[in-house]
């Protein structure tokens, strides 16, 4: 009963929302009145690679688009694997692998328009790929030559944010600015199941809903926040959190690149059309460790990880391409060659990445001159120069 009245109250408060909702959302809302009901998982491609239709999320794709998505998935995984290896070789200080989450990131990333803006966590390498951010830029941060450093406005891809959830507020503020500019862009804020517990995420939901900001909250529920399962973060499916804030929430198969593409495209269009925020929960799995410093054998069973292997995002698309005859052997061979080239470029790029000059410490602390920073820089430079052979002591 309580849930029903909440739904009614929301419709009153935000009359613009229900008009444009696909029927699935009203179904999802009605399932909220039955707390034990299994949440619907929006899926367009089964783990076996069978294309299925969803009445609310139709998606037409050309063979070329499908191959292109497959290429993204494969190259992103290859890049990620190279980065893990480079960390093992001592070339990177740390790496946060996206293994298993490629479809969630590529699907949502490819749903964005050029003018849309992404606010990532520190694991959105696949989104960065879709935004055409050079992978070597991402690696600079994990090598320790900078804290990010790319120009966020060049590709509309913000810097990685490590304090979890903080970027959801930046995304919301940016989206509020879009509204003020009367632009038709939208923003996508990435976060995870762990971050969903952060106050900043709740505050972002509040600000986004009361200001009707064009932002899509894209939660990759990869089941684990380092060692803590999602049950430590929530009693209800995360996408249902949205209803308490008065905007739609949907759960999508995060290992299905087509569903992620269709749902995110809908969500971004919903937001950009003046209907306010959407929460997308991409239900996926972190196949690897939290980072290269983590040891998941201490807290989760191998059987669980194995059970997700059969839902792999890449193998299901490959199966589909193959049995539908949408890609031939030459395509796969060419992609393999491209993947090798990418690996080579990444390895060489990282190994040849120079350490910055130590005076980087003082660069960019402020945008305008600051007497203390200037003084300390001069002290440092004089100290460094006092060593025999000058500054390079």
């Amino acid at each position: 009963m309580t849930v029903k009245s909440t739904t009614r109250a929301r419709k009153k408060a935000a009359p613009a929302v229900p008009d444009t909702l696909p029927p699935v959302l009203s179904e999802a809302q009605s399932s909220e009145s039955q707390p034990d009901a299994q949440p619907e998982l929006i899926q367009l491609l089964t783990p076996e690679g069978i294309r299925v239709e969803h009445p609310d999320f139709p998606l037409t794709t050309t063979p070329e688009e499908l191959r292109s998505l497959y290429r993204d998935l494969v190259l992103v995984r290859r890049f990620d694997a190279e980065a893990t290896s480079l960390q093992r070789q001592g070339e990177l200080g740390l790496w946060a692998s996206l293994l298993g989450q490629e479809a969630a990131q590529v699907g949502s990333g490819r749903a964005m328009r050029t003018g849309d803006y992404a606010f990532p966590t520190y694991r959105e390498h696949g989104v960065a790929w879709c935004r055409d951010v050079d992978p070597l830029n991402l690696l600079g941060m994990f090598r320790g030559v900078n804290h990010g450093g790319w120009d966020p406005n060049e590709k509309n891809f913000h810097l990685y944010t490590i304090v979890i959830g903080a970027q959801t507020l930046h995304a919301t503020g940016y989206a509020m600015g879009i509204t003020k500019d009367s632009a038709d862009d939208a923003v996508i804020a990435y976060f995870g199941d762990g971050a969903s517990s952060q106050g900043d995420v709740s505050e972002a939901f509040t600000f986004a809903s009361v200001y009707n900001a064009p932002v899509v909250f894209f939660c990759q529920n990869n089941q684990w926040a380092i060692s803590e399962p999602t049950t430590n973060q929530t009693r209800i499916p995360l996408y249902r959190r949205a209803s308490g804030f008065g905007f739609p929430g949907v759960r999508v198969d995060g290992n299905d690149v087509l569903a992620c593409l269709a749902v995110t495209r809908w969500a971004l269009d919903h937001a950009r059309s003046g209907n306010g925020p959407v929460l997308v929960e991409a239900f996926t799995y972190r196949m690897g460790a939290h980072t290269t410093s983590d040891d998941p054998t201490r807290y989760r069973a191998t059987e669980e990880t194995e059970s997700w292997k059969v839902k792999d995002p890449i193998s299901r698309l490959k199966a589909y391409l193959e049995h539908e005859g949408l890609a031939d052997e030459a395509f796969f061979a060419e992609l393999e060659a491209e993947s090798e080239q990418l690996g080579l470029r990444v390895r060489e790029g990282v190994r040849n990445m120079p350490d910055p000059d130590p005076t980087l410490i003082f660069d960019h602390v402020y945008a305008e001159p600051h007497t203390l920073v200037d003084e300390e820089r001069a002290e440092y430079e004089a100290y460094a120069a006092s060593f025999e052979g000058g500054e390079n002591h």
Binding site: H147, P152, L169, G173, G199, A367, E368, T371, L372
Partner: protein
């Protein structure tokens, strides 16, 4: 600016001018719209500039600062009001880890022209969390600029300069002085980060900022009756500090006493004492002394007068300094 203005009105006029001069300037905060803020600093501004530019926000400080960062990324110039000093801590991550560091971590590709206005310090008989002096936390964070005016002229011009700055500025407003009146000149006579000698003297230098400048001026006036000529330096800027002005003064007087409401331990006075010792060692006739709050939570208002530095505590320190 016509005639005498209160600090509150001088701030209000500064916000108005900033809104007029730059369409990208926005005000955000709790109750700043129809109410005009709990101290009425934004009085009338929403009526004149609209709800789109003078924004009543949800009651969530992290949300206010976090969305201000996003608006700055979109090209806006937000001026945020934190309702009371003790309410800024929920926004600490957004200020210290996000706002302060964004320019550096982006290697200068993005700017963060965000001003965070905070009515700070005590002396108004408030309940707890309404009288905090937390300037040291912010001054300790690279990437932030921290300033505080002590009079109407500086309140007006320093706020305009803070809003115009491309760096984040923590703008601390001495709330117990909001109703003090003063002449506001037609232009800024100093840069945002310059200190000002507000009273010349020769026997010792009192160094203060914000609400304590008035206490020090009163102490200097009282000391003059005893034939002691105290110089008073209003720092105005807490980060960066205008050490050149401090150094020049202390080298002349040979004695320095730093006065602030914040606890003495690890307060601005500690940094000033260290720097003065390094720069003025051979000119000092006495150790640098500090007058400030105690290492205790800000007390209930019935005893706050015993916590806050006042004329007598300042003069007591002057006695000790001159006894060396």
């Amino acid at each position: 600016m016509a005639g005498q203005l209160s600090i509150a009105k001088a701030l209000n006029e500064a916000l108005r001018k900033s809104l007029e001069n730059d369409p990208k300037t926005l005000l955000m905060g709790e109750d700043i719209g129809k109410l005009g803020g709990v101290f009425r600093i934004t009085d009338g501004l929403q009526k004149d500039f609209g709800e789109d530019r003078v924004i009543d926000t949800p009651l969530a400080e992290s949300g206010i600062v976090g969305t201000a960062i996003g608006l700055a990324l979109r090209g806006y110039r937000p001026v945020v009001e934190i309702q009371f000093d003790g309410f800024v801590y929920p926004a600490f991550d957004q200020i210290v880890s996000q706002l302060a560091k964004m320019h550096a971590r982006a290697l200068g590709h993005v700017k963060m022209p965000v001003t965070v206005r905070i009515p700070f310090a005590g002396g108004i008989g408030a309940v707890e969390h309404h009288s905090e002096s937390h300037e040291a936390y912010f001054a300790h964070t690279a990437g932030l600029r921290v300033v505080t005016p002590s009079n109407a002229h500086d309140a007006h011009w320093m706020l305009r300069q803070a809003i115009a700055s491309d760096d984040p500025v923590i703008f601390l407003e001495p709330k117990r002085r909001y109703w003090d009146k003063g002449e506001v000149g037609d232009s800024a006579d100093l840069g945002l980060h310059s200190a000002r000698v507000v009273r010349p003297g020769a026997d010792a230098t009192l160094i203060a900022y914000g609400p304590m400048v008035k206490v020090c001026q009163e102490a200097a006036a009282a000391a003059e009756e005893d034939g002691r000529r105290l110089e008073v330096v209003d720092l105005r800027s807490i980060s960066p500090i205008d050490f050149a002005t401090v150094e020049e003064s202390v080298k002349r007087t040979g004695r320095a006493i730093v006065v602030h409401e914040a606890p003495v331990f690890m307060g601005l006075g500690s940094e000033l004492a260290a720097r003065i010792t390094e720069r003025c060692f051979y000119h000092l006739e006495a150790p640098v002394l500090r007058v400030g709050g105690y290492h205790a939570p800000y007390p209930p208002s019935r005893v706050e007068e015993s916590y806050l530095p006042d004329l007598d505590r300042v003069l007591d320190a002057v006695d000790r300094a001159l006894a060396f």
